[in-house]
Amino acid sequence: MTMLRGLALTLLALLFAAAPAAAQGALTVQVTTEPPGLDLTTNPSSAIATVVFYNVQEGLVKVDRHGKLVPWLAERWYTTDSRNYTFFLRKGVRFHNGREMKAADVKFALDRAVNPETKHPYRVQYENIQDVIVKDDYTISVTLKRVEANFLWTVARQGSVIYPREAVDSLKAQPVGTGPFTVADWARGDRIVLVKNKDYWQKGLPRLDKVTYRFIPDPNSALAALKSGDIDVSAFGLGPENVDALKKDGRFQVILGDTTNDVTLSMNNSKKPYSDKRVRLAITHAINKEEVLKGAMFGYGKILGSNVDPLNPYYVDVSKREPYDPAKAKKLLDDAGYPNGFEATFKVAPQYYYTVRSAEVVVNQLAKVGIRAKIQQIEWGQWLAQVFCLKPCENPDYDMSIIGHAEAWDIGNFANPKYYFRWDNADFQALFKESEVTVDDKKRRELYVKMQQMLADEAPAVWLYMHPRLVVTKKGVTGIWKDLPIPSLDLSEVGWQK
């Protein structure tokens, strides 16, 4: 018996032995989803960008924390006609494998993005590239098939990161780049550990020695981990319902900012009754967006009137053009031949919490004008197949849905009649086409304003609200981006207050 007791005591002592204190140069970040591989150039998942983009791999041009394009691996560039671009590379930038980055690597990366064999997720964006020519080790020029006003944005996106030719086969598990951190360990299902790149080309950065990403899918667990001190930063995991309490808690700081994620109520424009503009407008007028934002997001976020988000330089507020007006909604339904409303189904994927919450509020509001909608929750794979109509799907199978559209500069989706909205409007398509080849900033802005107004008036969808950026950190963590103009969790300037 004495031996047993001794054993039990030893065990207890072992259990309660103090854990080593966290080093000041280390940061533990909670994210919800584990990335499916780490290759930005073959998979569009934003979970990959959260870990790899700007931390491990970088591009010629960077989108900074304010959403502005800034020179990065290219220290400058010039173009006279928006068709021929010449980039001058920074000298002395080394990849993690020690070799210097040269123009040939840039050519390799761009050529690979254009090549249909390589499964690049955003190949469409690179199709306009005609030729990439290496002038010398530090100069490279790109010729486009036609003028493209947004080409620098293409070069700044996550699919345009530069990596060494010899490491192309290991990108999925061991991405190599020029970034401030390198991937040290990936315990699948649990964590990814990044460590400081001592030879980073930007002097004095990064400020952290080690970053640990932990995958915690359950929001309650994430909150508990934050409160018990296991994690230092919760990047995307916490819902808006926790914001008020966390703001009052002196141990934490809450960072609320803007994103490019437009939570959109999509309608199947190819299907009755949504093919009728009056019905779409009726739905728009029936929805009280303030109430949706309050009910689904505890008021955090911003009301939208079109697909352009507040981080876009051409953003104008068109949310008042077709305001909440249930009487008008009823009249429009009457005119369209639905005096008694109609039945509808919302197909939403509960994998994103805001979809179901928003749909619940919207369904209630629609009922007040006679539209009897019900919610059908389907799993993400099914959503992609039925609603988003992934190939080989011919026609999307849905009435209405709600999902966040996270890409920046994605107004082109409404100029694409094959996109799952199935909105086919020649005038809008012409406007968009013009905006793509208009280089003059003032003219281009005018076109964007016109497009936003047209979207609000034609109502191919209802833009509910911009999903807020919500990051919670321990007090003392500095340098985290407030807004999220591009999917990334840039940790290069993040550190602990001295």
Binding site: L14, E34, D218, N220
Partner: protein, 314 residues
């Protein structure tokens, strides 16, 4: 005894064959084309077709099954689509969390349930019995994930004694590892503990009514010896049956608690693999867990034979 064991092993192998067929078919029925999900929304039909070919999804189903089962027997469960590493390796690394978690939960369950059951049975219809049964009723009523959250709130958030979740691996010492598994193990074993305590109580009560117990008492054997040497040994068969089934249930139940405590175990591997349509991993994990349960049940069956010689001659 040998014939009994052989018969049990043959039955086990047959069940395994059936299980593997079932696993294979069920996974085939899952909607969603893995090739499409892997390649993402911009994939060309061409590359989807190529990938389907590469994954062997175009061949006849019986051929696919035969190949898969054949390799599985040799321990080769294929490669994970998502992670691009062997499935068997993934399962083994995840087992280093799930197995100790399950065993710890089982040990805690047995260590608490049997004494409590004995305690209740020996105080039949007195306050001690009622208190113990109320306690176990509570254990049955409270769902494990909720108990887990409460434990986290109390011991991690409020008191700060334990981390709120996660598993740092065995590299940081056995003590540290066991400590991070303690809360989830308690939450996991709670329900099974309650069931087992009730089983122990009723099994023991049953035996205590038997003639030989009365005889032992009449012969002047000390009460302690009557209960532990004579009665409990014979009550072990129903207790063991329940405990054996429970071990399997613990393994399955760990899926939810692994999410609450974000432990990188088998359950979360399976969940993640299902949403990523990582077919080889889904098949591998389900086959592994099902096989483990079949083997445990067979082992329990054979233990009966040891405990009660009557059974093996039936």
């Amino acid at each position: 005894m040998r014939r009994y064991v052989l018969r049990r092993v043959a039955a086990m192998l047959l069940t395994l064959l059936f299980v593997s067929l079932l696993v294979f078919m069920v996974v085939r029925v899952l909607p969603g084309d893995p090739a499409l999900i892997m390649l993402g929304i911009e994939a060309s039909p061409d590359s989807v077709a190529k990938l389907r070919e590469g994954l062997g999804l175009n061949r006849p189903v019986p051929v696919q099954y035969a190949e898969w089962a054949g390799r599985a027997v040799l321990g080769d469960l294929g490669r994970s689509i998502q992670y691009d590493v062997p499935v068997a390796g993934l399962i083994v690394s995840r087992l280093s969390v799930t197995l100790p978690l399950t065993l710890m939960a089982a040990a805690l369950m047995v260590a608490a349930a049997i004494p409590l059951g004995v305690f209740a049975a020996t105080r039949h219809r007195r306050w001690g019995d009622y208190a113990a049964m109320t306690l176990s009723q509570l254990g049955i009523a409270v769902p494990g994930f909720w108990a887990g959250l409460l434990l986290i709130l109390l011991f991690s958030v409020k008191l700060g004694w334990f981390q709120a979740g996660g598993f740092d691996g065995w590299g940081r010492g056995v003590g540290h590892a066991l400590k991070s598994l303690l809360l989830p193990a308690v939450a996991l074993g709670l329900f099974q503990f309650a069931v087992l305590a009730r089983t122990t109580r009723s099994a023991l009560l049953e035996v205590l009514r038997e003639e030989y117990v009365k005889t032992a008492r009449a012969k002047g054997v000390a009460e302690r010896a009557v209960i532990f040497r004579h009665a409990l040994k014979n009550a072990m068969i129903p207790i063991l049956t329940v405990a054996g089934v429970q071990l399997g249930q613990l393994m399955a139940g760990s899926i939810i608690l692994e999410s609450v405590f974000y432990l990188p175990g088998l359950g979360r591997l399976a969940l993640g693999a299902i949403s990523a349509r990582d077919l080889p991993v889904v098949q591998g994990v389900v086959l592994f867990v099902a096989s483990a349960i079949v083997v445990i049940n067979a082992a329990v069956d054979m233990l009966y034979g040891v405990l009660d010689p009557r059974i093996r001659y039936e």
